[in-house]
């Protein structure tokens, strides 16, 4: 067993050992033990991913573990990348979780399940046969479902969220199962090698791709299969939210890449235009919902949908360009998508962990009730600012680098990609631009309203800084954000090589990598350069120089504290501050036709006169429009069917036995007639 194998097995072993250990140890030691084991496992997993990505692959075959098929594992570069990301997210979440567990999350189940969840997410990308993949996938679904339910006694919303999640994830699982089982049956074998070698008729290929796409896209939270995401991610404990939103959704992208590009070797252009379209829709819809959301964790969940949409735009563009024969640009688009996966994992881990800190310091996730945390939680505020900068895709944040690459791949595609490309690419650029603009608005709101200004409620007033372990977990994620932002060359060579080898039709050995350069990134074959590090340095020099200039030339008098401008009406109360809802109101009005917000106004007049108002009550909510149009009718029909079926069950035992009797007789008669 080589180094990769040793590390990977160590990671799995640690996770699997941590679960029973967490069950057996006493409550006081439990979080530390489980956290330490998961941290070590995450480190080992990340290291295994990195070594495998740099060329040292590993595969194993364990026939005895699962009945019939056995387990097959193979860490090739594609799987390795996702293993590495999962490992890194697990490290941050586990360090954070040690302290977070004190808030009533140190029960046996809550502590034993996270290591298993991490193990399943390490196994999914390493699986090399259909049955192994499906088992790991189901394990991932079940463990995450248990974790979503962790706080079900405290909030009623958890139960509903878990129900949505359970149903959606199992429908997705059914779609993947159907697709891959059909694929395996047609290919005459279920290992990925056999699937790769199989030549399927076009119709069957389409069916396999569409079925698996639906399943994997639902895991990635892609519109219109996103309804569970913004419910389940916020209701889970925060370090689990981070694991789900930063690592688990990636598995959906992994699945699409594995099946579409690797096992099916790419496909017709329409597959990828479909992927691109779904991505564009998700990017816009996700960020629009995030822009008007006032629940901090829900906002982050919607932003996950947006970022997965951006990734799928890249994946779709890559597949589309590859189907047109342009491997170099396809590799560029794919490298951009993969880099965005990594970047998103880094900043979303950070943001969810910071949101968890806020939740536990103040007891609320509602941005309208927060504020003033800058003075009370300085470290959390600074770390959230790093994450928000990254998520709004502004330099010098890491999100900017991947969006820049994505835009470059789209604009250079225009002259080469024919009519479909000429229509798609400008619209895709417009979508990315609008989602980037709305992302800025969203995160200005999240940071500005949530952390700055003055506290809006007593809960926010009483907030205090989180314990060191939580800050440590966030700081790890923030450090990775900063490294990715300033030196994307630490991960880009590996990702570019992976992208170049993954693009169908790139041949052996794969073509040159699409992006190169250490400090300044250069596109291969196209003119385009950018240097994130130098931009940051120039910005720092400019700001420091200006600070010096202000010291030198401006007044040297000491700063004086003064009253805010209150129109002479005395000190302003926190109720006068802008809230998240009021901040998003102009955007909500602009997108009124898309969002269809609901509001109702109750005016109660005083008894004496109809013109004098006793009280005014205003309520507004923005329901998910896709959910209302697409899911509610289905749910209503299912409910109606269920109610109709109650007529069949009136409680009489004789009647139930009669149903069995009738059915048996009917089957026998039918058999007699047919034979």
């Amino acid at each position: 067993m080589n180094l990769t194998g040793t590390l990977f097995v160590a990671a799995l072993g640690l996770c699997l050992a941590a679960a029973p250990a967490a069950v057996l140890t006493p409550r006081r030691a439990r979080p530390l033990l489980a956290g330490a084991a998961t941290t070590a496992a995450g480190l080992a997993g990340a290291a295994a991913g990195v070594t495998a990505l740099s060329g040292q692959g590993w595969s194993a075959r364990l026939d005895g573990v699962l009945p019939l098929a056995g387990v097959r594992l193979d860490l090739d570069p594609l799987g390795a990348m996702f293993v590495a990301v999962t490992g890194a997210v697990a490290v941050c979440a586990a360090v954070y979780g040690v302290a977070y567990a004190r808030h009533g999350l140190d029960g046996r189940v809550a502590q034993a399940t996270p290591p298993l969840f991490v193990a399943s997410m390490l196994l999914v990308p390493a699986a090399a046969s259909v049955s192994t993949l499906l088992v790991a996938w189901e394990l991932m679904a079940l463990t995450s479902l248990l974790l979503v339910l962790a706080e079900h006694r405290r909030r009623a919303a958890v139960g509903e969220a878990a129900l949505w999640y359970a149903v959606m994830t199992h429908l997705g699982f059914a779609a993947i199962l159907a697709g891959l089982a059909g694929f395996a049956a047609l290919a005459g074998g279920e290992t990925f090698e056999q699937l790769r070698a199989a030549g399927l008729p076009p119709g069957a290929r389409d069916a396999v791709f569409l079925a698996t796409l639906a399943g994997f896209a639902s895991k990635a939270g892609i519109v219109p299969l996103h309804v569970w995401l913004a419910r389940a991610h916020p209701e889970a404990p925060s370090q689990v939210s981070a694991l789900m939103s930063a690592a688990m959704v990636n598995m959906g992208v992994y699945g699409i890449l594995r099946v579409g590009l690797d096992l099916l070797h790419g496909g017709p252009a329409w597959w990828w235009l479909l992927v691109l379209g779904a991505g564009a829709l998700s990017a816009l819809f996700g960020i629009l919902q995030a822009a008007v959301a006032s629940d901090l964790k829900r906002l982050l969940g919607h932003s996950t949908t947006e970022n997965m949409g951006l990734v799928l735009i890249g994946v779709g563009a890559a597949g589309f360009l590859a189907s047109g024969g342009d491997s170099m640009l396809a590799a560029l688009a794919l490298a951009a998508a993969l880099l965005h996966v990594v970047n998103h994992s880094a900043f979303k881990t950070l943001l969810f962990l910071a949101a968890g800190s806020v939740l536990h310091a103040t007891g609320t996730r509602d941005l309208d009730a927060l504020g003033g945390l800058r003075a009370r939680m300085p470290c959390t505020t600074a770390l959230f600012a790093v994450g928000a900068l990254a998520a709004s895709a502004l330099p010098p944040g890491n999100g900017f680098v991947s969006e820049w690459l994505l835009l470059q791949s789209l604009i250079h595609a225009l002259p080469t990609s024919g009519v479909a490309g000429a229509v798609t690419m400008p619209l895709a650029v417009g979508v990315i631009a609008l989602s980037a603009g709305l992302a800025i608005a969203t995160f200005v709101k999240a940071f500005g309203v949530g952390f700055l200004a003055r506290p809006r409620t007593p809960g926010a007033e009483r907030a205090s800084e989180s314990p060191p372990a939580m800050i440590g977990g966030m700081a790890l994620a923030a450090a990775s954000c900063v490294i990715l932002a300033l030196a994307p060359a630490t991960v880009l060579p590996g990702l570019s090589r992976l992208a170049a080898s993954l693009v169908p039709g790139s041949g052996h050995p794969p073509g040159p990598v699409p992006v190169s350069g250490e400090v300044t990134l250069r596109l291969t074959g196209y003119e385009g350069t950018i240097s994130p590090l130098l931009i940051a340095v120039a910005l720092a020099i400019a700001v420091i120089g200006l600070l010096g200039a202000v010291r030198l030339f401006a007044s040297r008098r000491a700063r004086r504290a003064a009253r805010l401008w209150d129109c002479g009406a005395g000190p302003m109360s926190p109720r006068m501050e802008y809230t998240a809802t009021s901040f998003a109101e102009p955007l909500q009005r602009v997108f009124d036709d898309v969002l269809e917000p609901e509001s109702d106004l109750d005016v109660t007049p005083t008894k004496e006169s109809a013109y004098l108002v006793e009280s005014v009550r205003f309520r507004a909510r923005i329901p998910d429009r896709i959910e209302r149009r697409l899911y509610d009718p289905v749910l209503a029909a299912a409910g109606a069917l269920g109610r109709a079926a109650t007529g069949l069950a009136n409680g009489s035992v004789h009647r139930y036995l009669a149903y069995g009797f009738y059915a048996l007789t009917a089957v026998l008669v039918a058999l007699a007639v047919i034979w």
């Binding site: 330099p395 608005a441 200005v444 309203v449 385009g528 931009i535 120089g545 004086r560 901040f583």
Partner: protein, 314 residues
Amino acid sequence: MTGLIGAVSQVVLVAVGSPLLAGLMRQVRARLEGRAGAGVAQPWRDLRKLARKEPITPHGTGWVFRLAPLVLAGTVLVVAAVVPLVTTLSPMDGVADLFAVTALLALGSVALALGGLDTGTAFGGMGASREVTVMALVEPTILLSVFALSVRVGSTNLGAIVTSAVHDPLEVISPVSLLAAVALAVVTIAETGRIPVDNPSTHLELTMIHEAMILEYSGPDLALIEWASAMRLSVLLGLLASLFAPWGIATAGAGLAAVVLGMAALVIKVAALGVLLAAGEVFMAKLRLFRIPELLAGSFMLALLAVAASFFLA
């Protein structure tokens, strides 16, 4: 070497000349409205006055409020060094392309919006909310215009775009260029907060955007913001001039004389655009806030048509 001198000279020119541009525009407005005006150098006198005042920190504000003016001015200075205003040979050219430039400008606006929110007053929040709304809607137009301009050159690097326009002046009157120019002009107006999107001289709460955000700033901080806003306007006008009227810009192989010529050309072009903008503002009213999306949707459509025209009429 020429490149470095050119880059330094354009930063210095922007830093020194921007308040004068603001003064010129106010003067033009004043004259057209039948007032005498305070003179072209008045903004500099204002800045000097503000810089000498005592710095003030309003209650409840923190590091974000203090940092915002510095970041705003810092981003504009970096952009001034990158953008080919005087020369295309800036050593910073490879560092950032047109996407990065727009993102840097957006970073400045974000800093100011956060500064406005940090005060916790209704005005600060209102200004920030409106600013980011406009910014979010402007973004698609900018990126698509960039796209349209880059199709011809095959690159989004500013040096490459401007060099190509210098070598082929007829390109400038193609439909692609004209549509993109109109779209970018609308964007410039929106980004710099001029009429009809925002009125830089209003303090009426119903209408103000930019002024609402900076209401709590005073003294040296306010001086920095005023100066940065003026620089932002002149950099954006300069960029517009460079992209669509690139005459006089020092390109590869040019000597020091060309840099001096480039500076003169820049001053003339930006002054002309400023006068045009100021004159236009006299005859126009500010749009209602909720009519602004129509204007921006229109500019988005123009940008998309510019992209489309780049292959419609290839």
